[in-house]
């Protein structure tokens, strides 16, 4: 049975998820005058750099169905996804007042243009569009990425006067390595005993990691993993699926719950992909820790619709993941109008079909409130596999 301590910890994560005024960040910042809060958009940023400079990275993943969009719609055409609308709404409503800056990683044109809107609308804030290399040779992509990070560090240093020191960056790498390991431990439990933590609870825990400081999240995860590990409940007869395509605009909690209730245990997803960007630890004692971050990005990044696939087709990697996890199928759930996810989907579907892996697909937007059609689709997908495969 799941006890009160478990419920209370999940409630903590839920409260952080619900809080659009970012009170946790404000409290964190108020403890030291030199502290700065930097918001970042999906998917991945090198948070270790922010930590080494005494800054709190806070993930900005839109507002789901918790905020009516009034002003945000005026900035985007109808064929643009929903996430930037709630982000603009939050910005214009003053929800980011306590933030000192924002990093917009390169993922798509919409996010790049969103950085432009922030530059125009929030003139007193630091705003940076962070370009990532799509060439993975050290002397080309590596050089480019170093110049981007050097420029980022130089500008961030100007926000609180702190200097980047290799020791502090190594310390931050150590903390985030620990965080990644704890998250992987939790993910292992979720894969082996999916009945111990629901997909929604797991998601909330991951989301909390993009709001809390890494120190707090590490403490939180250690306690939670101990509780989750002890839970003793029988698994239900459900299929195991990988959900993919939701790495930027986030699926509503109701959608995640719907997939699970429709008979699917989600054993892998990309909802909070940034946490799992690297499959292994970053070297912790390098004399040039920035080089370590760069090398990891060039050679160890996970596959993603935001990264050029080079000679490793994403569809094949997804099929490999299905085999490794012994998943029964794949659910493509992408936000409407998400170019990166929807352009990749046909290629991935083709690869899965080639490998005789069952898949289904649907689209959502972050403020979706009706899940009946999706429940029907996921439910029949699960039944088909359970009964006739």
């Amino acid at each position: 049975m799941k006890d009160k301590a478990y419920a209370s910890m999940i409630q903590t994560a839920r409260d952080l998820f619900e809080d659009l005024s970012f009170e946790y960040a404000s409290k964190w910042k108020s403890k030291d005058k030199s502290r700065r809060v930097i918001g970042f958009l999906p998917i991945y940023i090198p948070k270790e750099i922010l930590h080494a400079l005494g800054m709190l990275p806070v993930g900005i993943f839109g507002a789901g169905d918790r905020l009516p969009v009034i002003k945000g719609d005026a900035y985007f055409q109808s064929y643009i996804c929903h996430l930037p609308r709630t982000v603009v709404e939050l910005a214009l409503n003053g929800n980011f007042t306590g933030f000192d800056g924002f990093i917009f990683p390169s993922i798509c044109d919409v996010i790049r243009n969103l950085s432009g809107i922030f530059k125009l609308q929030l003139k007193d804030k630091f705003v940076r569009y962070l370009d990532f290399p799509q060439n993975f040779q050290k002397n080309i992509g590596g050089e480019f990425y170093r110049s981007e990070l050097d420029r980022l560090i130089a500008d961030l240093q100007g926000l609180n006067g702190k200097k980047m020191e290799p020791k502090k960056l190594n310390d931050a790498i150590k903390l985030y390595n620990k965080n990644r390991q704890l998250l992987k431990d939790l993910r292992e439990i979720k894969r082996d005993r999916p009945q111990n933590i629901s997909a929604v609870d797991y998601y909330l825990v991951l989301r909390a990691g993009n709001t809390m400081s890494v120190e707090d999240h590490n403490d939180y995860l250690e306690k939670l993993i101990e509780l989750v590990d002890k839970i003793d409940v029988m698994p239900e007869d459900k299929i195991k699926v990988i959900a993919t395509g939701s790495f930027c605009e986030q699926p509503p909690l109701g959608l995640i719950k719907t997939i699970e209730n429709a008979g699917c245990y989600i054993v892998e997803d990309d909802f909070q992909l940034g946490h799992f960007w690297f499959p292994e630890d970053i070297p912790e004692n390098s004399s040039d820790p920035l080089e370590s971050l760069i090398d990891m990005y060039l050679h160890k990044s996970t596959f993603s619709s935001a990264v050029y696939e080079g000679d490793q087709p994403k569809g094949e990697l997804l099929a490999e993941q299905v085999r490794d996890l012994k998943a029964d199928g794949v659910i493509f759930c992408a936000p409407s109008f998400c170019d990166p996810a929807l352009l990749d989907r046909p290629l991935m579907e083709k690869a899965l079909t080639k490998h005789h892996i069952k898949h289904t697909s649907f689209q959502y937007h972050e403020n979706l409130g009706q899940f009946h059609v999706i429940k029907e689709q996921a439910g029949t997908f699960a039944d088909m596999i359970k009964l006739w495969e």
């Binding site: 029988m234 239900e236 007869d237 459900k238 209730n261 429709a262 008979g263 009706q370 009946h372 429940k375 029907e376 439910g379 029949t380 699960a382 039944d383 359970k386 009964l387 006739w388």
Partner: protein, 274 residues
């Protein structure tokens, strides 16, 4: 003997079927409980306990407990089957000649075309609007001052059915209130409602290009006027379908879930069953 239990949680009723599972499953018991304003989860637990007691069984004696419908409200279960799959199997159990099944419940109407062995080949369902649902019909009976059981026979008496809005339950309800105020005969109003609901279902049948025979499951299958109207409209469109209420129509979902539960149990063990 292998026993399986199917629990179908609807928005108005909970249905439970105890099945003796084999290649030729037998329905041992069927329980139907109206939820009224009770907590559905507590009601399910209570009903399961009562059913087991009645048959002198323990929970662990059940090979597989399967939910269908709003399955998340069932605390103790091994698996869940979607209502499309369950209703198809439930109707097929009584009618192995079934090529099409129409599930008409309180909130949605679903049409499934079947392959051999009750495997769902294709399906379609009504959208969000409640005007094609049993809940809508139940609401209307209150305006008319009749019981739900009277609806079917009254409809068959009508000679001049009323014309209702077929698009929206809210508009259709307004239409009915106006008709009552104008003194229109109750049978004509009821048949008008049936026509409005049946037209939607027949459109789905036509869209899916289904084959005959068609069996109707769910609470609305008991409405003889509605089934008659579906046949009438199907003939009007030359669909050449024979539409009839399924045996044990209300319990079809629960029965189907229980049977699939047994099938799944043996499939997991690597043993093929019918």
């Amino acid at each position: 003997m292998d026993y399986t239990l199917g629990i179908d949680v609807g928005s108005s009723y909970i249905k439970m079927a105890l099945v003796e599972y084999s290649d030729t499953p037998v329905v041992v018991d069927l329980v139907v409980e109206k939820i009224r304003k009770r907590n559905p989860t507590q009601l399910i637990n209570m009903a399961v306990d009562n059913l087991l007691k009645k048959h002198d069984m323990l929970y662990d004696d059940l090979l597989y407990v399967a939910s269908t419908g709003e399955g998340e409200l069932v605390e103790r279960k091994r698996g869940h089957f979607y209502s499309i799959t369950s209703h198809s199997r439930g109707a097929y159990h009584f009618h192995p000649d079934a090529r099409t099944v129409v599930d008409m419940g309180a909130l949605f109407c679903k049409v499934m075309s079947l392959e051999a062995g009750a495997r769902v080949k294709n399906y379609a369902m009504t959208g969000q609007c409640a005007s094609g649902s049993g809940q809508f019909l139940e609401n209307i009976t209150r305006y008319l001052g009749i019981t739900i059981d009277e609806v079917g026979p009254l409809s068959l008496e009508s000679k001049e059915p009323a014309k209702l809005s077929g698009i929206c339950a809210v508009l259709a309800e307004t239409d009915v209130i106006n008709m009552v105020a104008q003194g229109m005969k109750t049978p004509d109003i009821v048949k008008g409602i049936h026509e409005s609901i049946a037209r939607r279902v027949v459109s789905l049948l036509s869209r899916l290009k289904v084959e005959s025979p068609v069996y109707v499951t769910g609470g609305m299958a008991q409405d003889v006027g509605l089934v008659a109207m579906m046949n009438e409209l199907s003939d009007e469109r030359n669909l050449n379908l024979k539409i009839a209420a399924s045996t044990s129509a209300v319990g079809a979902g629960a029965i189907g879930a229980a049977i699939w539960g047994g099938f799944r149990h043996y499939k997991l063990l690597g043993v093929a069953t019918a």
